[in-house]
Symmetry: C2
Subunit: 121 residues, 2 copies
């Protein structure tokens, strides 16, 4: 089954949506299930001031994205780059083994958005 934390973030996900003209944008596809994840960031003085995600992915992907965006918001880019796939699963108090592939999507998209920002600078 799913942890209480996963259910909470699934039922009421944080930071869903898009940012128009984002400072950084990351989009990754999941090779297992084919789902896509998009993350948008707004950066001010090296800090992630705002972050949004959008996905057609499953409940686990939604819960991990909600958690990853919570973790990244207000962090410096260097701190946010250090958020790992495992951090997210741990904060969510675990995911079923068959759903671990879903949790990769959010962390990967976050890193892609930060790299996109850094390349444009």
């Amino acid at each position: 089954g799913y942890s209480q934390k996963v259910m909470e973030h699934f039922m009421n996900p944080h930071n869903v949506g898009v940012i128009e003209n984002p400072d950084g944008y990351g989009k990754v596809g999941n090779p297992v299930c084919g789902d896509l994840m998009e993350i948008f960031i707004r950066v001010r003085e090296n800090v992630i001031e705002d972050i949004r995600f959008r996905t057609f992915g499953c409940g686990s992907a939604i819960a991990t994205s909600s958690m990853v965006t919570d973790l990244a918001k207000g962090k410096t880019l260097e701190e946010a780059l250090q958020i790992t796939r495992d951090d997210v699963a741990t904060e969510l108090e675990g995911l079923p083994p068959r759903k671990m592939h879903c949790s990769n999507l959010a962390a990967d998209a976050l890193h892609a958005a930060i790299r996109d920002y850094l390349e444009k600078e």
Copy 2:
């Protein structure tokens, strides 16, 4: 991309939820992504009078379940058993090839729920 029909059923899915003490219950897992789908039916005089689904699956799984439950509601058991995976994808005006595995879940769970009912009779 996704068809207009898929987006409509994803944003506003029909027949979401559970039926307490259902007449038939089907639960199937997706070998590709690990997602689960549950379908509950209420049967009166051989007709599917009410049908609900619950899933943690992705947007495509939600859209196909919404469509499958719409198709099955009001049908006889024999008619509902003939609803195929392809019927659902066609009614939704297609799904991206990488998401076809998601559409199998709903039709399979419907058939499992009907078989569960027939075995109990």
